[in-house]
Symmetry: C2
Subunit: 361 residues, 2 copies
């Protein structure tokens, strides 16, 4: 069986590493010749909409994507001739913050107040409706904190609008939250649905820096709400595969922030920390195989390596730390790898996290 | 960093799968174009002694081997220009049952009585010395029960000798043992040495079929003896990397049977069943990185897939079962994959083993 993947980044690399044991082969389409998954399958170096590349991808038994900004058109084109999971619709929603938040609202999933901004007039209307503080965001192609401007006071409004205008925008109420959580769901072709333990995420300058799983002191009601929200999205899209939902924890209430219709950075700890990794379960799902248990093996954390990979000897000297180097060129603010660390209990986990943090400075 | 590997079989495949996360790349030499590791690195399709192939392997940062019958000459040649672990000497000993058993004796490691057989005269002398029952074996290239003849009665002797003569032989006393055990050790460049839990192995028609880890009802004294034997071998060879030692458990006494100077089939459960897999630890060792914990995560077992891979859906339907398909052509008596299964306790593990066994019939 051959799996086709749109994108050959680190997510594609980790999908392939978990797929070879299942007897799978991989074919990637990615315009970057040095993409991290390049050595782990046939890599077609081409634009995502290149007709020849898509034709060769359609020769695979099933196609998936690992890059969120893959053109929806390419996914729809593929869907005409080959099985593709998750559905192109979910990709489309995830690429546009306005559609995403509108979908949340339609599905009864709580989210921050928001309004569409197309020009200065609609920006003024949105400001009046949402109030301050607020966040002005580009609807498309925002990630790792890019394409966002916080408007705390009236006087910041013009600068924020000037910085982002020219593309479709969305104004969102600024949510003061206790922490960010994420829930990762996986649904098989037979609708069997499982959830990894809810994850707690820390960011640094807009980039995910640390995920702890399971989230600390998580109310059972909050966990159920997170899973319920994810289920509504899975149902809405007739979803197959892994879906991640990012949530703000507002002291007992959850606001959905965004979805990722793919394996997710906050789930990388599952490689060593769960009974089945998110990568293996995504492949099992899209291939119509039975899903594996999503239970955690114990407390675990994931630290992103941003900019550069520290000395592997020092990382691996930390008990139960596992290094994941994506073989990417070092570059400021770039995710070049991650470290998973497990521990017998939460206190020891915190010690190990602290030790690892000092190596990442 | 690039790791060169002599051999591109399933062991090379699993080494590569555990090495990519460490940021490693792989270069294999193996004469078979369809070798299981072929898609996981540069594969130089050449004989193990091909000078050009060895030259290209010597360009790697470190070289190791995954195939036990690699010519010692090739390993020695490589050792002149590149770091190679484990040492070529250990390879030489493991390839010859007479040298192997002689080494055991020299190191004070208990083993069955044995005698060298070069011709009919020495065969008669050996029979008189060892007595019956005995096993006549080729000194070299015996594996999975091949190249062996059991002599139970005087009248079987001529047939056995006729079947094997023409190559150097060894006659060994037939040992009636309770079970076969193996101990897998790993030693780093800094001499840090760790042992995986002792493993209990079952064979079917001479081929390893099932490994349970940790071994059931293992006396603490026996565990220490197994580790002591392995340590003597590590010391003798100035060893770096993973070493496996197969042992017969004679109700409270251990006899060493053979060594494998490499990652070992009875250690495949460590991929999902131990805190660090034997593959990752072998790489950490040969690269001079700190070793990871060799502790088991709980009771686990490994079932070899011999001849063919069963329906993946049925295998993965067993809770906590993980499939490892080596992408080999099905063929009678060929190891084409394995399944690891974990369980919360020994009784549930036995149930899961039984379920899996019915799928392998």
């Amino acid at each position: 069986m051959r799996v086709g993947v749109l994108g050959a980044g680190q997510l594609g690399r980790m999908l392939a590493l978990s797929g070879y044991p299942l007897g799978l082969e991989f074919r990637f389409v990615d315009p970057s010749p040095q993409a991290p998954a390049s050595k782990l399958g046939d890599h077609i170096v081409a634009d995502y909409e290149d007709p020849d590349a898509l034709k060769r991808l359609a020769e695979c038994d099933v196609v998936t994507f690992e890059f969120e900004s893959v053109p929806v058109k390419a996914a729809r084109k593929l869907a005409e001739t080959v099985r593709i999971h998750p559905p192109a619709d979910a990709l489309g929603i995830a690429q546009d913050r306005l559609y995403e938040k509108t979908s949340f609202r339609e599905l009864g999933i709580a989210t921050a107040e928001f309004a569409r901004v197309d020009d200065e007039a609609s920006f003024r209307t949105a400001l009046a409706q949402i109030g301050l503080p607020a966040v002005l965001k580009t609807r498309r192609l925002g990630y790792d904190g890019k394409g966002q401007q916080i408007i705390r006071e009236e006087k910041d409004a013009d600068t924020a609008f000037a910085a982002l205008s020219g593309v479709p925008l969305i104004l969102e109420a600024f949510v003061s939250f206790r922490r960010e959580l994420s829930v990762i769901a996986v649904r098989g072709r037979d609708k069997d649905t499982r959830f990894y333990p809810v994850i707690e995420n820390e960011h640094d300058a807009g980039i995910l820096s640390l995920s702890r799983a399971p989230a600390r002191d998580l109310d059972e009601r909050i966990r159920r709400e997170a899973e319920d929200y994810a289920t509504r999205l899975l149902d809405r899209f007739d979803y197959v595969g892994v879906l991640a939902l990012e949530l703000f924890d507002l002291e007992g209430r959850l606001y959905a922030n965004e979805i990722a219709p793919r394996v997710h950075n906050s789930g990388h700890w599952t490689i060593e920390g769960a009974r089945t990794s998110q990568f293996e379960n995504h492949l099992r799902a899209i291939l119509g195989l039975p899903l594996g248990s999503t239970e955690a093996l114990g407390p675990a954390a994931m630290l992103n390596l941003i900019g550069k990979v520290p000395d592997p000897a020092r990382v691996l000297d930390v008990v139960d730390a596992h290094l994941h180097d994506y073989a990417k060129e070092p570059r400021a603010r770039r995710k070049v790898g991650h470290v998973t660390v497990r521990a017998p209990d939460a206190a020891i986990l915190e010690e190990r996290i602290q030790t690892l943090k000092t190596l990442l400075l």
